[in-house]
Symmetry: C2
Subunit: 133 residues, 2 copies
């Protein structure tokens, strides 16, 4: 299939597919006579693999590492895959924690603000941000 069909079947933008190729993630397995990219069913699977990696939050570098394992399973061990997911999991937990911290602060900031048409002179959001904790 040509790039636009792969785009349709994966939902990945053709520009992005070319970008993935440049990044070493997904190379079309053939080129037509006139140099068009021709993707195989295997390429489609790889493209969907990449898409799922993205949904899990993996960076392109991590995705590349996972793809390397996928492409040559016998040369790799479970520990490699697991260490990638573990580090991603840790990263995500940290991000969640940070966001929850912000969420807490913001909720508190909100709590006493009337949110109405009163002058901001006594707005607790502003005064709290001014005063700090």
């Amino acid at each position: 299939m040509k790039i636009s069909e792969l785009e349709k079947r994966t939902g990945i933008n053709a520009h992005t597919l070319r970008y993935y190729e440049k990044s070493g993630l997904l190379k079309a397995s053939m080129r037509s006579v006139n140099n068009y990219r021709i993707y195989s069913e295997d390429d489609l699977i790889t493209a969907l693999f990449i898409k799922r990696c993205k949904e899990c939050g993996f960076s392109l570098a991590q995705t590349a590492a996972l793809l390397a394992i996928k492409h040559d399973k016998s040369l790799h061990v479970c520990a490699e895959a697991k260490s990638i997911t573990e580090s991603k999991l840790q990263e995500i937990s940290q991000q969640i924690e940070q966001l929850q911290q912000m969420e807490g602060t913001l909720t508190e900031l909100q709590a006493y603000c009337c949110g109405g048409q009163e002058s901001a002179e006594f707005c607790t959001i502003i005064s709290t941000l001014e005063a700090g904790k």
Copy 2:
């Protein structure tokens, strides 16, 4: 005080302080004879305000909006401040949700992988990413 002292007292890099000025967030209230930025105590308060906004996750644009309220409270109303925090809160909740979704997927992905020195041939992480849900 000069820029390096403000840097010390706020923990905000001098480069960043200049960047904030260019972005319209924090202008030194004076310049010395030789064109050095001279910051007042009020400027220090503003710098700390910006820092706290950052800790809450506000973008520079949102911070600028909050600063505008702070600088001229009588011209603004609580509703403005509250709408900014509300939209930020919403954004953060969404991000948390997304991350938790990823966290769940990753945890599931991990669950059945031995993580050992076995060949990745039967690694559940890889095969799950291949198969999709």
